[in-house]
Amino acid sequence: MSDPDKPAMSREELDRLFNTPQGMVHDKTPAAPAPSSPSSPPEPAGQGGRHRSDHHSPPRPSSPTRGDLHQVTSDLTIDETLLLHSIDWEPVDMVIGASVAAIPTMGFAGAGWAGATDQSAQAFTSAVASAVARIRDDCSAAGGVGVIGVDVDFQVHRHTVQAVLVGTAVRPAGGGRGGHPFVSDLTVRDFLLLHNAGWEPLGLAFGASFVQVPYRTIGTVFKQVTANTEMTNLTEAMYQAREQGMERLQSSAIGMGAQGVVAVQYSDRPLPFASHVIGFTSWGTAIRLSGESHRYVKPRMVVAMDDAGDLFDLQGAMGTKE
């Protein structure tokens, strides 16, 4: 790896890769029993290739520890797979949790009913909590110790809010502790960097709040037509709601015993059914020190010759020019 003159992979190695009959490499280990087949009948929804799959003897899984990819479905990129391997972790499966919660409109019918905004925030929180619980169950069932790279997708419909989490269950190669799996939207790269710096993810911190923006009275509108003046009541309402959303995010992180929240994302948009109601949602990964203290990464400075942002990919593709 460190020898700059050595090609990425010798011809011989490649020859071997492509011409080793399947099943020869891992002959030392007996075939492990297949995991229990999916509960649904195997519908022919799959891909082509099966029309000739009889050319191949059934493959044997490799050693049950490192590198066992038996039936793994992973949405990681190859870079992410390699990075995960470099800290001796492995992907286990793609895991899923989705939840839909109701937001009734009636609560907003009478202007100024503060209760409704609170309960809508609760609906949001309950959708997230349930989606997290489902993805956690899926992760435990797959044998992972945590889920990373979670794609967090919120959709607010007219009467419902939907939270969908899709991520990759991972574990240290060959198993790892059981217990309560963590759920994190960190990418593998971020996970690795944090891991090397001595931190571990705990879970998804989440906060939502809703605010009903006060209507301005005719008198106020009239007075403000020509003046440059802060619309203090609006400022106050929006400011207050943002603070509340962030506060809920923080308290959910504190509830997990976190020392910090990284990569907080933030969205604010009016609800589709009530333009005067703004929903604030924020989420991020709660983390805590796993070692005694923070370990420093000393980065090297580089000047990139590509115009694209994705340095890792491009370096791989083009090589660095000394």
Partner: protein
């Protein structure tokens, strides 16, 4: 000049009969074409792979999910009836939901709800994808290729929603000096990404795709919550989770994962790409999920990569 071997095999064998006539002429040409970017092309040569031609498969399928629907007469009652409802051709019942109120069922107050896997349309999808995949592979074989890299999948509605086109496009490659594999392998990856896959000790087997669809026939409480109404019987909280919809959203995604697993034969799926869409099918919400990726197999133990050098860009 070595880029000629595609012509020999392609010319002699001729294209398989279900490929269009122009395909034969194109595949017999002396020069290759490739959809690879230059970076991928370079990495591909570096790995000892020689592009021999662009290969594609295509199939247009009639697409009418409602075709499999059980008789639509007496709509409400039949679905609510439970016993005797014929789901054959339409799908499997994944979950049942019951009315929590002690009142008599009616068309306005469905006492049973179902989440149904629409197996009929799933089979249609599989047929289209398989035909497309097979044709792409036939083109690759006509070129004497060993593998197809950088496959792209452009499956979309064609001229309205009733027709769906399946289209796969990739670059066929030959590994000079190597015997042809038993069957042509294929992958969505190309270039350095493919190189890194080999470095990870994995080899591509084939591109795979799967499709799952779940239709929601809502029970009364689902309808109430979904439409933002209050439960006049006071049984369900208007702010709570809508169990039936949560289950449907979750199971559509898990089903497509299970479907793809059933095609893996013990291999692994790399680089899974999940796309979910929701539409109204005969007036009922249907959640469709498509999952794609490259089926890979392990050919040697993975040696962990040395830790990469952390860098900060000076620009």
């Amino acid at each position: 000049m070595a880029f000629t071997s595609g012509a020999g095999t392609g010319g002699q064998a001729g294209p398989p009969i279900d490929l269009p006539e122009a395909a034969g002429r194109r595949l017999a040409a002396k020069s290759f074409s490739s959809a690879l970017s230059v970076a991928d092309f370079a990495a591909c040569l570096h790995m000892g792979m020689r592009p021999v031609g662009l290969v594609q498969g295509f199939c247009a399928m009639g697409w009418n999910p409602g075709y499999y629907l059980p008789s639509q007469t007496n709509y409400g009652n039949q679905w609510q009836g439970g016993y005797g409802t014929s789901w054959s051709g339409w799908g499997n019942v994944l979950d049942n939901y019951y009315c929590p109120h002690s009142i008599i069922a009616s068309a306005e107050h469905p006492s049973r709800g179902y989440n149904i896997e629409a197996t009929g349309i799933e089979a249609t999808w599989a047929e289209g994808y398989n035909a497309t995949y097979r044709r792409m592979l036939e083109e690759a074989e006509a070129l004497g290729a060993h593998g197809v890299i950088g496959v792209t999948d452009a499956t979309k509605p064609l001229i309205g929603p009733r027709v769906r086109e399946f289209h796969l496009l990739g670059t066929a490659v030959v590994m000079d000096g190597q015997p042809a594999p038993d069957r042509v392998w294929s992958t969505y990856l190309a270039g350095s990404k493919l190189g890194k896959l080999f470095e990870a000790g994995l080899a591509p087997v084939s591109v795979v795709g799967a499709f799952a669809a779940v239709t929601v026939l809502p029970v009364c409480v689902t309808e109430i919550q979904e439409n933002g109404r209050w439960d006049t019987y006071g049984v369900v909280s208007p702010y709570g989770e809508i169990g039936q919809l949560s289950d449907a959203q979750t199971s559509a995604r898990r089903l497509v994962r299970d479907h793809i697993k059933s095609t893996l034969d013990g291999g692994a799926l790399h680089g899974a790409d999940l796309r979910v869409s929701e539409d109204s099918l005969v007036g009922r919400t249907t959640i469709s999920a498509v999952l794609r990726g490259t089926k890979v197999r392990r050919v040697r133990d993975a040696e962990p990569l040395p830790q990469p050098v952390p860098t900060v860009r000076l620009s």
